[in-house]
Symmetry: C2
Subunit: 236 residues, 2 copies
């Protein structure tokens, strides 16, 4: 039996009280799970409100059984209709679909995605922009069979932008995959390691909100079908 292992780490821009990155994990009515990650334009309260509003829309649709491509289009249409193309956000939707036995990644984003499956880490560039700007925006969709060893790493642009203020070279994602991610065991360890790497590049003062979502398919020997969920949130 294999196990789906999901990990998330998230922090906010330095001296900002709220993160404009919102991540939600919900159960799909047809079986399986979806992770929604929204990065609202800007930072602070306005960005947070925007990302909560869009995550509310996306989560509501997913929970109603709406297919992922339509969730992304509808969330875009909603933003575009009410903000007239003046406000943007990125949207990442990762679904573990038990019917097709695939991981489906639906993206309107501007950060690359990393894929690890035992061989050289692959950097999958994003070929869809954010939602909210142009009328007929649609997402880029990729699909991967659920097999043990597969690992998908997604993050908001606080990660690739890290180190920019300090004038560092852009992150080498292939090197990060091999040096920072590959040695990690759990999905949470990967998320923590990528966050620590970006924080170091920002000298401990994140230049933007940061969120990392990791989905891994791991071999597991559990006899009982037990599902587990943990969360830790520092109280402000």
């Amino acid at each position: 039996m294999a196990t789906i292992d999901i990990g998330l780490a998230k922090t906010e821009k330095y001296a900002s009280r709220e993160s404009g990155d919102t991540v939600e994990l919900v159960e799909r009515p047809g079986g399986g799970f979806s992770v929604v990650m929204i990065d609202g334009q800007g930072s602070g309260r306005a960005a947070k409100t925007l990302s909560l509003l869009l995550s509310s829309k996306a989560v509501g649709l997913i929970k109603e059984g709406v297919r992922d491509g339509v969730v992304a289009r509808a969330t875009h249409d909603h933003l575009f209709a009410f903000r007239h193309g003046q406000v943007s956000a990125t949207l990442d939707l990762v679904s573990i679909d038990l019917k097709t036995r695939t991981i489906v990644v639906t993206r309107n984003a501007d950060s690359p995605m990393l894929l690890l499956d035992g061989t050289e880490p692959r950097v999958i560039p994003v070929d869809s922009g954010p939602i909210g700007r142009y009328q007929w925006t649609k997402p880029a969709v990729s699909q991967f069979p659920l097999k043990a060893g597969l690992r998908v790493v997604l993050f908001t642009d606080g990660i690739p932008q890290s180190g920019r203020r300090a004038g560092s070279a852009p992150i080498d994602f292939v090197a990060m995959g091999a040096e920072v991610i590959a040695p990690c065991d759990s999905s949470q360890a990967v998320a923590d390691a990528v966050l620590a790497h970006a924080l170091e590049r920002d000298q401990g003062r994140p230049g933007d909100d940061m969120a990392i979502v990791v989905v891994s398919i791991r071999e597991a020997g559990s006899a009982m079908p037990i599902r587990r969920l943990q969360a830790q949130f520092p109280l402000p």
Copy 2:
């Protein structure tokens, strides 16, 4: 700085392929988080569909900013309107409300709740029944200040019903609080220990779906405001 620590463990009735217990964790638009736990009547696919439908309703309302007491009433009204009083479900809603700095527990349930805060474990009996049966059903609400050391443990009726087939005495919740729960550190450790206790009483073959949600306020020394989320789901 204190940390909110949330843990969940969940399994299904023996030889059943799906659990009628659905648990979701979502971020509240006003700040903070809510956990929704629904136990749909019966077991198997019909119970799972029911609990996913009701969790969809409840999660959608929470994400829209609707207050908890109204979420419970609206979820009940929806079920009652479409199933004419013939189908019931339990609903537990635990919110970490950062505005009032309290934990708010809103229940339409039939299992007691455990409260631990350093002294003798307290068993808080439920004084509200399930949703779906009678026209004006409303929830019971309790509120606790967010302070380090507080721990709330909620579960579906698979836990108190465990051991019944084997003719065991009912669970002594005060003893379970002191012996099974008190030695645990993290919320996940508590959820796992309570599940293991109930599984043992059912000789490893759960007589009903089981879910345990644990919310703890822990002292923490983290300097960075990092949020984390982990989930593990065995693939069927």
